[in-house]
Homo-oligomer: 460 residues x 2
């Protein structure tokens, strides 16, 4: 009980909510403001890519029956639903391909549960771009700090941390934008704590999207309830039977409130260049380089006898999957990733689809992959060696893969991601006005209008 | 890991859902059928009592904004909302006073998350009384068996077990009534597992009602999603990262499928005679007897110098609360319960309200209460001794309190509970037609019509 008593002695809920209540735009460093825009650009790119995915289609069909109004945009679908339902569907869409952002310390996908909430709200009440950005930044701050406190035990036990912590992020972002009092923010935390759910067991199935959508929806609901003085416990996070103690064995409670206002969790956010498990990043980057090599072009793929992947042991542990049957599995299969990158010279969503997986030529090339584990490699690094029947060896080393914290995607990369994924999703939206609107959103007086740019064609 | 591997080796999700899929009315014993009606009678009584409680008022105000249709009855409020929202509010109302039923092995309140779901569905598609009863019975069966498997560690850790297990009950009851295939029922379990939430920390606050309402709502949603082939994991319960292993340290997985079809969990259900913690039942029963005693009437309450409560140690541990300020606290205060029962000769909701608590005479009488712990007493037993200044002692012993499993409320008691609580709630509904309709519901061809009897006056 020592642990629980210690945890309960720090009033982190009160201190975190007071910070969220008090924090003003002036106090947010320029670097954080810019990272927020980058996260939102990445958010729109991934949401636009998945707007007609079967998971979203079926969820929209069922949830749409229970929508009360056409008040908020469902991204890319030419459809408006009530703000809770629209937020839920947009969260699902932005996360369904696991191509969204990653907060490195926790592996939370921070934007998916928070951005849909603040944009849906901005379509029902006039909000400036600055207001929305501040709400978003503070929501992510709450979400990731709570995630820090329960990591790594929480996810290891089986909690889908983006879902469980996302509900707090959505609640705090919404609560900030609704102008809740500090007491009401504590109550919003209470109703959010009652709704925190999501299991790792559901990954790889549609059911995962349910807890993701709920994180955004139920966080908003928590804030709306608190606005009506719907009360809750004083210590929903740190209480003896509160979220931290119940869902983690040794929560680091203090990390929730340490360096508030000077450390910003958005600066730990990263973006994926490829729709794959991040340990594959250096391998794919190397293979895309090799695909353009004159040696390979001359010899041809058939002349490769062995493809050696040298990397951190996690590379083999997480991605040694030779016999896969679905696009989803291909996202964590080194055999598929190597084969498709070498063969097609691309590694986008189309290359990790069910269609790509069914190509026998890729399966054949993948069989030639072998792993060399080397603990001296960082997870961001890998070496790929192609051994040809001629005896020639072609080798590419990647020290730090693009997308890693030390080598983030550039603004230009993120713009290109919007262009590519917008095209892929088939919504008919135009990427350029969207890209401009996100970069300049701190000058928008009614930021909800931005959603028109991602609405898509109205369906018959 | 031994434990987790053992747990995962039994395919309980498949076996439980197959049973739910296959089970027919003929296979349900008469005793279970009758207990279902008793549970439903108790359900309507408690829901009618709380329909205008502030928690329900505020929840209805917020949730009502997001209701898509007037398709299902919100009990007592003269209000119709979409079936998910109506079910959520009815679940909240039936549980908000903690006056609903109790499944003894788990302390789950089994009816609150399940009955609102099946009745809301019955207002949107024609269902016979037999169909609804079967769905309800199977939903409770799933909910309580899952609860058995995680008890007692789950609640002890801080999970609000009615909320966390209720979502499975609602999902299975709804899924049965929708005619889902066995595979779809597994998927419904998957989406339900992703939504299981609720913390003990929220008890005593409005936030508790959020997870209660969600249990009904999200269970229904899980079944509706599964109907559209929205898939989920194969082993949402027993998987290594599934509900059982994540929310309990040593789940008893096999109990979920042992004696399926021969042991029925509804037969472990009990009903409260008083709106209090069950350990107070024998004390209140004794005091209500004493209140009518000629000796006390002659001597008067002022002549009492000491009130001795002899009972199991849990009685003192759970209810020794001398200085309370709210009606909610009074439900677990022996000092208040004794004083109000002796003074007013009643122990209903009015006697455990904020108004009752503010009566200084009760506070004064309560100060004369003292406890004598005696481990030889069962929790259902207590002795109350009144010591008068004359030296006289008046004593009542209760061996088994009414409402205990060994001394259940009679059908007549439950009818009277409907009459009393219907009057208390102020909906203007008439209890007699409702009582008749519940007892005869297995003969109803369109059981959704029963909800007209609990609709209440339409609000202006």
């Amino acid at each position: 009980m020592t642990n629980k008593e210690n945890t309960s002695s720090v009033d982190v809920t009160a201190r975190l909510t007071q910070f969220i209540h008090d924090c003003q735009w002036d106090a947010v460093p320029e670097k954080v403001r810019h990272e927020a825009k980058r996260s939102l650009l990445n958010y729109f790119s991934v949401a636009l890519s998945a707007c007609f995915d079967p998971t979203i289609e079926r969820a929209a069909q069922v949830l749409g029956r229970f929508s009360s109004a056409q008040q908020a945009t469902v991204i890319g679908r030419g459809q408006r639903l009530d703000m809770l339902t629209a937020a839920a569907l947009n969260t699902m869409a932005s996360n369904v391909f696991d191509f969204d952002d990653t907060h490195i310390p926790t592996i939370i996908h921070p934007t998916a549960p928070v951005a849909p909430a603040v944009f849906a709200l901005a379509e029902t009440q006039r909000l400036s771009g600055i207001e929305l950005l501040l709400g978003f930044i503070l929501g992510v701050e709450a979400e990731c700090r709570i995630g820090n406190a329960v990591s790594p035990g929480h996810y290891a036990r089986g909690w889908h941390i983006t879902s469980t912590c996302g509900v707090f992020g959505s609640a705090m972002a919404t609560g900030k934008l609704l102008g809740l009092s500090a007491q009401q923010l504590v109550w919003a935390m209470g109703s959010a704590s009652a709704q925190a759910s999501g299991l790792v067991e559901t990954l790889g199935t549609m059911a995962k999207s349910v807890s993701m959508g709920n994180a955004a929806r139920n966080g908003m609901l928590s804030a709306l309830l608190a606005q009506q003085d719907f009360d809750g416990p004083a210590r929903p996070l740190e209480g003896v039977r509160g979220f931290l103690n119940v869902t983690a064995d040794s929560p680091d409670c203090l990390s929730i409130v340490s360096e508030l206002g000077s450390r910003w969790e958005l600066l730990n956010n990263t973006y994926k260049p490829f729709p794959c498990g991040v340990v594959l990043n250096p391998v794919i980057e190397a293979c895309l380089g090799l695909a353009k090599s004159p040696v390979l072009l001359k010899q041809g793929l058939d002349a490769i006898v062995r493809i050696e992947l040298v990397g951190h042991p996690l590379l083999r542990q997480r991605t040694d999957r030779p016999n896969i049957t679905t696009g989803r599995e291909s996202q964590v299969s080194a055999q598929h990733a190597v084969a498709v990158a070498l063969t097609r010279g691309r590694a986008g969503l189309a290359e990790f689809s069910d269609e790509a997986v069914s190509d026998p030529a890729l399966r054949d090339l993948g069989r030639r992959v072998c792993f060399v584990e080397d603990a001296s490699f960082a997870v961001e690094a890998a070496t790929v060696k192609l051994h040809f029947e001629s005896g020639e060896i072609l080798c590419v080393e990647v020290d730090i893969a693009r997308g890693a914290r030390a080598k983030p995607l550039t603004d230009q990369d993120l713009e290109n991601k919007v262009r590519t994924l917008c095209e892929y999703g088939g919504s008919g939206c135009h990427p350029e006005p969207l890209i401009d609107a996100v970069w300049t959103m701190d000058r928008a007086s009614d930021v909800g209008q931005l959603m028109r740019l991602v609405a898509g064609q109205t369906q018959k």
